[in-house]
Amino acid sequence: MSDRLSVLKTYKLYVGGKFPRSESGRVYEVTDAKGNWLANAPLSSRKDARDAVVAARKAFGGWSGATAYNRGQILYRTAEMLEGRRDQFAAEVADAEGLSKAKAAAQVDAAIDRWVWYAGWSDKVAQIAGSANPVAGPYFNLSAPEPTGVVAVLAPQESSFLGLVSVIAPAIVTGNTAVVVASEQAPLPALSLAEVLATSDLPGGVVNLLSGRTAELAAPLAAHQDVNAVDLTGAGAELAVELETAAADNLKRVLRPRAVDWTADPGTERLLAFLETKTVWHPMGV
């Protein structure tokens, strides 16, 4: 084989269905686990974070208003696209996390399977989280879950791909839109995931991906008045306290960070964390 010079990818953000560079023009060096240069990733600014919230809000009406069946189909399509890029993600995860090829491939397989698992929840979650309520009167009374709105997600720092999809999929399958801050040290699998999302019929703005300094991006997101919830998984303990305090200003729903085994059965916790229960009453009579 001749010494062909490979074509390197310019990693970019994913906001509103487009792939912009950071408005700041900044990048930072991303290395593999041994310190070798992999790429320059965008070093997103507070302004990028705010732009991402605008895009997520704009997408919320359409995405939350889509049928659950349609959302499930789109998420399943995403899994199909992931499967086709399995080798690429395995290589990126191996670099990012210093894993052997086999172990990285296992992470990617688990991530794809997890995406399929969550896709199937789209038209079932209302049946486990909702209820018909037998009130003491002549009323039809029904409780059903609804998405809470725009969710800011701090993706886990260590698990750059399995952990990433494990926090994105449950947030969006129920109709929320998300602004996701990728793992600070290992953002490349996340930025590549954006390419999959962009080709899966997922409406632009449903998932917005930012790379950069978690603390720098998390602060404006936690304080943003048009963000409804924050998933603090990727925040350290000290930062998490600051962010939860800031989130109180408009009473965001907060998912606190805790140790998670990403290979374990995730249960329904993350699906239910970003739902509101709406109860509708109507009189019955002739």
């Binding site: 409780s143 939860e244 989130a247 109180a248 408009n250 009473l251 509101e276 709406k278 109860t279 509708v280």
Partner: protein
């Protein structure tokens, strides 16, 4: 409005309530003096008469109560669910037996009409304990795993608008799930919680399972900040709710908040207007408008505005304002001088900002705290009376032309607790219900409550649900 027949006074006797001159704190199964030695007075808002003195709980008192609750937690949580259930069934039954006494007490301390405390508050209190009693031995079937565990000690802070009902909403699910509680009743309405302590005694509830620490906001702040509690449940203002969320940040305490609201009550031109008028009146004048889910913004479709407002004014003119103990009274006393001042200030701001104010002719008693039922027309979305929670008998009327405009106006608020829809068209009702960002939607009805029905808000109206299966989650480690 003149009427052919006037109502004769029909006061409920207060002899059924036996008040002590002063009350201590209920800690570890008995009433004890507070460590600070300070007593506060609780007054009847209808007469300003001092009803009793009660104890200003200190941080040390809170600490004692939390320790008692922690000690009690081990045995209480280890009891078979069926045994915990039987204690709650006992409590429900005793509340039913003593409901007349408790209704009169609630009306005395709160100022709400006896018709409401008797027919709404007390039946709902007993029903709430019955409902959650039945869950105590069925938690494994509630959808939170096969053996969901309680959290531990719950710190609960409740408001003055439905003192005993809010206690029931907090205590019943907490105990059913196996938690123990320290409850801080509101500063202006401590008495029914203190009577509840006696009900716990009659029911033979193990000591320390329920602790009642009275006091002002500083007592509540000490409770939610106490490192020994595992759960904070608060019902009250959004401002205090945010402060509590900041206090709890970075801890392992689970938090649920039921906060303010600015509900839209939306009337379409095809609505049954007479029923809508009843719903509007119930929505804003029930409990003097001291209701977080009150329908305080009336959104009426332009084409029926005149007809609806004429009917509404006619109906408002028949509302009887006065002695809360009178069984014919519709609107009682404002709960406190402080709340009256807030309502007055906001209503004055409504006039100053250009809205048109109207109240029916009604004579208000000379002593006590009173505010006539009030209607504002010509209100815009920018007016303070359209944005801020008045928490009083003040209705702001806005108009709309299309369903889309109604949705946009209804959702144009940081709150999201409840909303009302009045229309005969089913598809439109369901479309509206899906678009409104609020936790409770009343269609062709308003202000209906039931222990089986989850209640709670979107956005800045708080998070978590009370009532129904959903209400268990707040008190389970899930």
């Amino acid at each position: 409005m003149s009427s052919a027949f006037d109502y004769a006074p029909a006061p409920e006797s207060r002899a059924v309530v036996d008040l002590a001159p002063a009350y201590g704190l209920f800690i570890d199964g008995e009433f004890t003096e507070g460590t600070g030695g300070d007593l506060r007075k609780t007054v009847s808002p209808a007469t300003e008469e001092v009803l009793a003195e009660y104890t200003q709980g200190t941080a040390d008192d809170v600490d004692r109560a939390v320790k008692a609750a922690r000690t009690a937690f081990g045995k209480w949580s280890a009891l078979p669910g069926a045994e915990r259930a039987k204690y709650l069934f006992r409590i429900a039954r005793i509340i039913q037996e003593r409901s007349r006494e408790l209704a009169v007490l609630e009306t005395l301390d709160n100022g709400k009409p006896i018709r409401e405390s008797r027919d709404a508050d007390l039946p709902l209190v007993a029903a709430h304990f019955f409902y959650y009693a039945g869950w105590a031995d069925k938690l494994g079937h509630a959808g939170f795993g096969p053996d969901p565990r309680p959290l531990g000690v719950a710190g609960q802070v409740i408001p003055w608008n439905f003192p005993l009902l809010m206690l029931a909403w907090k205590v019943a699910p907490a105990l059913a799930c196996g938690n123990t509680v320290v409850l801080k009743p509101a500063e202006t309405t401590p008495l029914s919680a203190l009577f509840f302590a006696d009900i716990c005694r009659q029911a033979g509830l193990p000591k320390g399972v329920v602790n009642i620490v009275t006091g002002d906001g500083s007592t509540g702040a000490a409770l939610v900040a106490h490192p020994g509690i595992d759960k904070v449940a608060f019902t009250g203002s959004t401002e205090v709710g945010k402060a509590i969320a900041r206090t709890v940040a970075g801890t392992d305490k689970k938090l649920t908040l039921e906060l303010g609201g600015k509900a839209a009550n939306i009337v379409f031109d095809d609505a049954p207007l007479d029923q809508a008028v009843e719903g509007i009146v119930n929505g804003i004048f029930f409990n003097q408008g001291h209701v977080c889910c009150a329908g305080s913004r009336l959104l009426v479709q332009e084409s029926v505005q005149d007809e609806l407002l004429d009917a509404l004014k006619r109906r408002m003119a028949t509302l009887r304002v006065g002695d809360p103990l009178d069984k014919n009274t519709d609107i009682g006393a404002i709960n406190s001088a402080e709340q009256l001042a807030r309502i007055t200030e906001l209503a004055d701001a409504g006039e100053a900002e250009g809205a048109e104010r109207w109240s029916p002719a009604c004579e208000l008693p000379g002593s006590g705290y009173w505010f006539a039922p009030t209607l504002f027309t010509g209100v815009t979305q920018a007016h303070r009376i359209a944005r801020e929670e008045v928490f009083g008998p003040v209705l702001s009327v806005l108009t709309f032309r299309t369903p889309e405009e109604a949705v946009a106006k209804a959702n144009n608020t940081p709150y999201g607790l409840s909303a009302g829809i009045w229309t005969e068209k089913g598809s439109r009702m369901l479309w509206m219900a899906s678009k409104l960002r609020a936790g409770v939607i009343w269609s062709n009805t308003f202000n209906k409550f039931d222990p089986a029905s989850p209640f709670g808000g979107y956005k800045e109206s708080g998070f978590g649900r009370e009532g129904g299966r959903h209400g268990l989650e707040a008190y389970l480690d899930v």
